[in-house]
Subunit: 299 residues, 2 copies
């Protein structure tokens, strides 16, 4: 079975790996991404890194996880803030022309979700909804082993789901958007305001909650309700076989997943209860998921 | 190309048709469904109707649209209120054993959505979200020509999506569920309360709105906002290439689709704006969609 190439392209670094179709990394190289030197430089550098990998031309294909929404039909980024000039840039076509194998792009959350659906906590499930619960809140819908990217590449941009009409417009997201209420940053802000101005991480808040602080517990509880309300909307759209949750905040899963489950069960039809909420399993979902893009397109 | 069989099974009648894969009805029979005489009778009657159709054994397969959620892995209904005893009944297996071709079940909203995605307004689009805007609000997610039914058969049960935390618990749906605010029944109730107790249809309300009645217009506007809020949640999950809207209320589409579009554009990321909201096209989505189930499973 042919190997695949996964590329994790960020604003700072780019990592390139040759991976087996069942997710073993065979060879890996890393370099700066040169994001501020323009897309031609970024592309030329990726090609140079790929030439360090053995047997790229014999691989099934190349997948690239990029930091922003992707038009998967035209195979280009639709919006690129961390890599200026990459919007509409034919990165996939240029790399494909160099190595003669197919190249697929998708955004980093979709790619991480694909990794968890094919190799991680959601392995073997027909419909997986992956959620990254981190500084922000993002996600990915994976159906039958393929990412659903959508018309504009925004499928899974669940941080903008409205969970309440209360509140003010505070950024580009909707009033009452779940990301402004339940993300890592939102937790820290709430903890600083209501509990202790020196708290600088969601982990710090969870520690206080675990120690029995009632205010900390109330903040965690409110977050869990908002998060569950978001999951309820997702569930009524696609009724996943499992929610798989990764990202920094999810490291404290033992302190809040049960609350999410309980609220979710209150906010869905009786027949939808008890869907599993699973912790993401993979250490390297970015690069493994990118490598799974050609696999998912092959069947 | 082989023909297919579509069966539209309701609580009152069952219709059976032989259909070409591009949606032409070749032969059709209809009978009572005998829902109250038990599932064996319902099943035996369907088999008797199928024997009236020419060449069933030479068809690609049989699809059955049923009134309730379906476990598409086990191919049985998960809950059946209109046809008592049909929960977990092996309807598909029995019919398949009789004719020697595959039989697929799915619920009626999913089947109608599949018809619109393969033959109707969403033809050729990779991700279609179908919404039935009728007495209630239901829907279906179709990805790459296949219905996403989900773990419990509840994918597309969007009437239960929460669009506001305000309100009271009035039925089995969530507080603030969109179906209790924007469905045909909700429109009639609101019109009776705020406008005229004699209004008995959404159409009657739309007529008053079109005539310039400010209260009627306000009710329509509120409905459009709630409907758009639901679509915003759907859009952030799956970013469809189009929303296709059918059902009785949608007959007045020229009086409210533009409002929905305008509110939707306010409630999604800038890059997601201007997704088409299309009127459903098919006269017979139930039977055509059932017939498309074997087609969608064949590739």
């Amino acid at each position: 079975m042919k190997a695949v190439i996964g590329i994790d392209l960020g604003g700072t670094n780019v990592r390139v790996a040759k991976v087996t179709q069942d997710g073993k990394i065979l060879q890996e190289v890393k370099s700066p991404s040169y994001a501020l030197e323009g897309p031609d430089k970024v592309c030329a550098n990726i090609i140079a890194q790929l030439h360090k990998i053995e047997g790229v031309k014999d691989c099934l294909g190349i997948g690239i996880g990029v930091p922003g929404p992707v038009d998967t039909i035209r195979n280009v980024m639709k919006m690129s803030t961390n890599i200026p000039g990459m919007t509409d840039y034919p990165l996939g076509d240029k790399i494909s022309a160099e190595f003669g194998i197919p190249v697929y792009l998708d955004n980093d959350a979709n790619v991480a979700g694909l990794a968890e659906a094919l190799l991680g906590a959601g392995k073997g499930l027909p419909v997986v909804f992956y959620i990254t619960h981190s500084t922000g809140i993002g996600g990915a819908l994976i159906v039958n082993g393929k990412v659903v990217s959508g018309r504009n590449g925004y499928a899974g941009e669940i941080g903008n789901i409205i969970v309440t009409r209360d509140g003010e417009k505070i950024n580009h997201l909707n009033i009452g958007a779940v990301e402004n209420r339940a993300s890592g940053i939102a937790l820290v802000k709430s903890a600083q305001k209501h509990l202790d101005p020196s708290i600088d991480s969601a982990y710090g808040l969870f520690q206080k909650a675990q120690a029995g602080d009632p205010v900390a517990n109330s903040i965690v509880d409110t977050m869990a309700y908002d998060f569950a309300a978001m999951c309820s909307a997702i569930g009524h759209v696609c009724d996943p076989y499992a929610f798989v949750i990764g990202g920094g905040v999810s490291q404290s899963h033992d302190l809040y997943f049960d609350k999410i489950k309980a609220y979710y069960n209150q906010l869905v039809h009786v027949g939808m209860r008890d869907v599993p909420f699973l912790l993401a399993q993979l250490d390297e979902p970015g690069i493994l998921g990118a490598a799974m893009l050609p696999v998912s397109h092959a069947h």
